[in-house]
Every structure is written in structure tokens, then in C-alpha cells.
Symmetry: C4
Subunit: 257 residues, 4 copies
Amino acid sequence: MDEIIVDFIEKPELEDAILIEGLPGVGNVGKLAVEHLIEEIDAEKYADIYSIYFPPQVLVDEDGLSKLVNNKLYYKKDVGEDNTDLILLTGDYQGMTPQGQYQLTDKILSIAKDMNVENLFSLGGYSQGEMIEIPEVLGAATTEKKVEEMKKLGVKFSEEDPSSGIVGASGLLLGLGDKLYDIPGVCLMGETSGYFVDPGAARVVLKTLANHIDLEIGYERLDEKAEEVEELTSKVKDMDMGGLQQEGGSQDLNYIG
Amino acid sequence: MDEIIVDFIEKPELEDAILIEGLPGVGNVGKLAVEHLIEEIDAEKYADIYSIYFPPQVLVDEDGLSKLVNNKLYYKKDVGEDNTDLILLTGDYQGMTPQGQYQLTDKILSIAKDMNVENLFSLGGYSQGEMIEIPEVLGAATTEKKVEEMKKLGVKFSEEDPSSGIVGASGLLLGLGDKLYDIPGVCLMGETSGYFVDPGAARVVLKTLANHIDLEIGYERLDEKAEEVEELTSKVKDMDMGGLQQEGGSQDLNYIG
Amino acid sequence: MDEIIVDFIEKPELEDAILIEGLPGVGNVGKLAVEHLIEEIDAEKYADIYSIYFPPQVLVDEDGLSKLVNNKLYYKKDVGEDNTDLILLTGDYQGMTPQGQYQLTDKILSIAKDMNVENLFSLGGYSQGEMIEIPEVLGAATTEKKVEEMKKLGVKFSEEDPSSGIVGASGLLLGLGDKLYDIPGVCLMGETSGYFVDPGAARVVLKTLANHIDLEIGYERLDEKAEEVEELTSKVKDMDMGGLQQEGGSQDLNYIG
Amino acid sequence: MDEIIVDFIEKPELEDAILIEGLPGVGNVGKLAVEHLIEEIDAEKYADIYSIYFPPQVLVDEDGLSKLVNNKLYYKKDVGEDNTDLILLTGDYQGMTPQGQYQLTDKILSIAKDMNVENLFSLGGYSQGEMIEIPEVLGAATTEKKVEEMKKLGVKFSEEDPSSGIVGASGLLLGLGDKLYDIPGVCLMGETSGYFVDPGAARVVLKTLANHIDLEIGYERLDEKAEEVEELTSKVKDMDMGGLQQEGGSQDLNYIG
């Protein structure tokens, strides 16, 4: 079989579109943010991506139905005040090897380029290794212009963070988008402890993005999830447990999805 | 050499066939079940599969003869009351890497499709992490119709299990069969402790499948093996040993073969 | 670059030749045996094999000269009473991945086939995990006829050993030689503790092979090396040290070279 | 995408050129040396090398700008008294797998060959596992003539070191340069503890190379960096800490960059 199989449900025609990525990673921040956005704007799935670079695994839903793990592309036209066309990328896993990460990201960028994507945002979490009261949004971008635009929205560009760069799909979309596809990109990272899934961090990241594209959406479901996690984590804090594993598809706490 | 080499002994012509997989995995349940079935119905080997995705290893039999590790395909026509044509897959190992798992499963599905396979069953164990008195059969399937059919046979479709999905050949046969080959599939998993090879779990899985295809076979040899393991495990329990390694080709207890 | 590069120095014409393999492995038994044989019969190197499957490494000799790690093929015509043509394979490393092992072994077999190799012997050590007073030679073979021939030479074919089969080049040469190249093969394994390089085990393996091809050679250098190791190991025993690392290119004590 | 992408900024025409490699490795010695040389002779970058063999990662600079990790080629014509043309190789990482190391080194050698490189030097550190007062420069070379030339410059060719050979890009440039491209090579290794980045070791390595090509450069910045590290390490010694991790892109202390 081909290393990557893209199964198109439809081929929407978009103009001056923005690609927004949220795959599993630190605190599952990116995935939570993009899944929430997909629901809020009622985006349509238009492609499934299967690959030998994903784990050899099916997921089983509550009805006993199995589904091969994959990544998914959604779109929505004329979103927000600026009538922006959006492509949204989420999925069960990131590629499992460096080679897989490169090939999957390259494939997604080539699809995006074909669909007139002119800008991209990768969303993720930034693990601070300690509980975060009010998470800030850290940023990185491929151009100075993008850095300036994001600073106006309150995004923090720090000399120290991310000290080790950005690893995984969020980083590669910026890197390959810039070098091979001429698509400028921004990575928005919500500060998170890194110990739990973090809907609160997803909220601040999504809010920043929504402001940028002049989009108003509700955050109720993210808030509810955040409260659930809050409850759980305070119980855990009471039990005084140390280095807990986060949920989600990431095997590596330093991975920024 | 090619990554996968299929060495056909013959090319049987089958109609409306069912593929049944039982490769090494948790409790070796699937392999035990399929090997027992092969013996009971006196199925014929028709192909050997060699691959760079298997370990670089020969096995040596009691006469000192070496055999390159492989997977094997058997067939039997007109089995049971419904005169069903069966293809049976078993072997020494599963593919050793995710990429190998995908490519091997894809190759087997393409062979199956060519031989008019219309349905598939993957058999395995489901590790409960504790001793199981009376094992149930858990299921997953690619279509609602299959779920309903299996429920009637007593297969349990649980919201909780398998919580992490199905990993390995059993999962991929469902996933790729569904997405790339249009072959509906069912995975039958016998509950097992996961600590030992488990002929008892193999028996319940095989019984379920036999009921489905209206086939009567003996289970004496599985019962004998189950007793042997029982004896062994009760000795071990007496010695109060913890986390024992299972036998068989699986390196990963969570692997469902 | 190509995955495997064979650099021929010459292309000798051989008849009814025997391939003898001795690559690094348990106790370095195979490599010691083949290197000793090469010296004793004054065999000629005719090809260097470089590969991306070997470590990215040069070795540096006592004069400061670097040499890319490789495998080497030697030959000698009309050896022993029977005037047998021999090809001898040794080298710095075995392939580092299963895929590399398969591809390298396949390449070597295709070269051997082209040079009229009709039989092959892979030499190695068999780790017993305890000090061995008088090492026996264990065997495995691809045909019953070979098993019988070897039994007459005192080779032990045991129901228990090698229980996990033969891993690595020695195993694959038998397996792929048998399945893909129609070259019957024998693996001769000298019993060894597995804790040290073992020239004594190399000696008994080589003696068995020499008897088979009616060849008389000296064993002085192997005996001297064996004495050196003996001295070392008795010192070590005095120091009462446990699980010592063996020397040589093998990273895995269970690897049979 | 291609496994290796070379993005040429310009294609300089050089004559009888020398390739000098300094990628991350033990003590970051090679990278420090080549980066210092690039600054001192004001060399021009002419190519960026991206690859699936590098980590899937962008680095983020102090302005928040992201850059895909890569290797970089610089050049400078008519350097030193002998008017030597130089190509300089440095970068963020070495290839992450043996296969990646081979393919990247082969690609760089093929570029070098096209640009009339006639000799190469790979620079690195040699970890002694203890603090080094006055570091010596150890050498290895592909030809006796090179060994003699280097000895005259005070380079030490030792029977013991490097006992395990030279692993990584520095080793492969010698090995593949010699075997596949007919480019003679020298590896210069500065003795270092292996516990810290070591600008002092970089200095002695660079001085040796500069002497060889009759080039006078300043070493002030390396000296300053060496003092900074000295301060840091003496503080650490006061704190009596053991096995510290070195900085830099190398994951393996035995890796010689």
C-alpha cells in the first residue's frame, strides 16, 4: 500500500484559505481547540488520511464499531466577520517516526497548497512542568510580520520559550510550510502543566485565533471540560501524587502537537 | 529481495470465502484457535509468506531442521452446514514494525480479495490483567450489521472494552479491510489474564466462530492444553509469583493478535 | 547511495563451492573461526561490502588509518583432500536492523549463487550462560541429509537447543538459502558461556567443519588466544565478577553470529 | 518529499577545494570550531540541507522566528597564504539514524565532489571521561601520507585512541569519501572531558587546521566562551556534581561530530 492514503470525500474550492492544525500533543491542547472549533462552526469533513506512519490500530466506539486510526481534514467557507475560508486538521495520532512526521506534514501541505491555503496556524500546548493559574499564549512564526500581528493579539514571544524549539507536526508545518510551500505560519501554544489534558489552555489558544480572524464562538463545552479536569486534578492534588501521565495520543510530554 | 514474498503452493478457487486470522498475540489466543481449527477441519496450506518485516530468524524443530520464520495461509472448501469456503492465516510472528504490520496486512488482504473473500474474522485475546474464571468473548466489527449478528451469538460489545482499540494484525485487518478492500470484518477477543498462553480463551472464541458458520468440531486437544496450563498456573499461584511472561511470539502484552 | 555496495576486487570462477560464514556474534565464535581459517588456508579477499545497514562508523588501525566498517568475502580454490572451492564471509558487524539483516543476507546469497555455491555453513556460538568445560558443537540444518552427515561428525542435534531458533546472519543464511536460493545449509554452533570471546569454541566448530571437507590445518593461534582468554577469565573469576560484557561487534548476547 | 533536499543559494566555482566539517557532537567541538572559522574568514552560506533524517523540529530564535532544523554549507575562496578554497559544513543536528547518516554524508560528498573538493577534514571532540588540562589533538586519516602530514603538525596518532573507531558524520566522511568519492580525509579530534561544550578543545583543533592551510585567524571569541564554560564548570566542581549532560545536539557522548 502507499505510505500515505488520502481518501477525499469532496474537493471543496476555497480562496485565500487558512489551515489550522490541532493534533494530539502536550495537554492535548491543539486537538481540543480544533475539535471545539470544528463543532462551533459546524465544519465539514472532506478527507481522511491513512498511513503506515500511524500505529497499526483501530479504535472501537461505544457501539462496537472499529475505525482505522487516521487524520482528518475539515473545511468551512466564509467564517467570521472577514468571511475567511478555513481548513482544519485533527486526528487520532501524529506520525510515529521522524520520517513519518516529515512525509505526513509534507502531504498535508501539498493538499493545502492545492486548495489555496495562504496562511497556517498550528495549535498546541507548552508544558511548563508546574500548575498554571492563568495560561498565556506563547508564539512562534515564520515571518516578522506575523510576529508583529500576533503580539498585537497578546501573544507572548519569549527569548527563553520554547527553548528547545517546536517538535512534531506543529513545528514541521511551520518549517516545511515556510521552506517548501511558501505558506507563512504561526504556532500558538497555550501554557499548560503538561500533566493533564488541558481544555483551559485550549480555550486561550482558540480565543487568540478567533480574535485574529474576527470570529465569535461559544466556549461552553470547553469550559465544562475544563471544570471536569479541574475537579479531577484537585482530587489528585489532595492525594499528593507526582508525575502523572497525561491522556491523549502523545507519548512524549515535550511533544507540541 | 522484495519486502514481502508470497510463495504459493497452489491457488485454490474459492467462492464467497471467509478469512480467519490467528497470529501470535495476547495469550496466544488467536494462534491457538486457528491452529486448532486447521487441524480439526484438515485445512490445506497453500502459501508461505516471508518478509523483511519478520525477525531475522530460523526456528529449529526437534529433528534439527531449520525453518525461516513466516506466516502461512491455509484453505478448506465447503466447511460446516453452510458449505463455507475458509482461508486461515497463522504464523510464527506478526510484523515487527508499524510499517511492517501495515504492509503485511495489506498484502494478505489483497490475496484474500483475489480469492473472493467476502468477510473476515480476526481472533485474539483481550488481557484483563487478572485471572478469568469463565472467559467471555468481546467483539468489534466494521459494520452495525455484523455487530448485531455477533450479539446474537453472545459476543459482548462493551463501551469500556477494548478501551485502547485493537492493535496489530487483528486490528489492521478490520481497518484496512474496511477502508481499502471493502471486506467487512469482525474481531473476536477471548478474555484472558494475559499472563499465560490461554487455550481456554481460544476455545470460547473458536466456539463462537464455529456457531456462526454452523460448524461442529471437537475441542479435545484445546481442552487438554487448557488443563496443562491450568496445572502449571496453579503451581505458579502456589509459588505466589507476580507478573509472569506469557509464551508465544508477542513481545507486548497489550498486543491483540 | 545504494543500500548495499559490493566492491569486487576480482571475480574468481569457482565450481561446486561452499560458503562459510563467520560474522560477529555470541562469543565471537564464528568470526574467530572463519578468520583463523582464512589465515590457515591463505584465502584471498575478492570483495568488500559496504552498507547503510552497518553502523555509521570507521575503525582506526594502529597506524591511524581509518577504514569504513564492512563485510568481506574471501575465496580459496582446491582446499583439502577433496579439492573443495571455498568462499568465506566475515566482517566488522552484522546488519543493524531486521530489514538490514534480510537485505544483506540476500545480497550475499545472490553473489554466492552466481559463483556456483552449492552448500553453505554458518558458524557461531551458542550461549549456555555458564562456564563450559568441554564445548560441544550444536547443529541445525535445512535438510535431513545434512543433519545425518553432521551427526556422523559428532554434531549434537538437540530437542531443546537452540530453543529460540537461530537469530541473525547465521540463521538467515540457512532460511533464505533454503527458501530463495535452493542452497542447502548447516549451522554449526560452539557451546560457549557467552561472557567472553571464546577461541576454544571457535576451535571445535572449525575442527568439525575441517573434518567435513577433509582439511588439515593448524590451530596454534586459536589455542594461544584461548589461553590468553583463559588467563583473563580466571583472574576475573578470582575477582568474583558477575555478568561481564563480551567483546566483539555484537550488542546482543543472544545473537548467534 | 525527497529524503534530502538541498536548497542552493548560489553555486560557487571552486578549485582544489577543502571540505571542513563541524557538526554537533562530543563537547560540540567540531561545531564550535567550524562556526568560529566561518565567522573569522567571513564565509558565505551557499546551501541549506533539509531532510527527513533530521528531527521533525523547528528552532525558535529570540525574535520568535522559527527555522526548520538543517545543515548548512558555506564557502570562502582564496583563504590563507596558500589561497585555499574552503567549503564548510555545520548545522543543527546530525542524521538521526544510521541510514540517515549514510545518506546525508553521501549527499554532501557528492556536492563536494561536484565542487572540486580534493581533500576533507572532519573536526570533532574525543571524550576522555575526565577533565583535560591541556587538550591534545588526536587524528585519523585515510592515507599514510595524510597521517605523516598531520604528525608534523603535532597531531597524535595513538594505538589506543580512538579505540572504538569514529562514529557519525566525522567517521563517515572519511569512510565514504575514501571508498566512494576518492577524496582523502583527515579527522582531527580535540581531547575533551565530554561533560561540557568545550571551546578550548575547539581552539586546538582549529589551530591545527589553520596551521595546515597557512591561515591566521583570531581566537578571542573562542577564548571568551572557554572562560565562560570554565567558570561554570568550576562552580559545578564546587557543587561536586557527577555525570552532567553536555549541551548541544548530540544525544550520545561517544558520538564524535
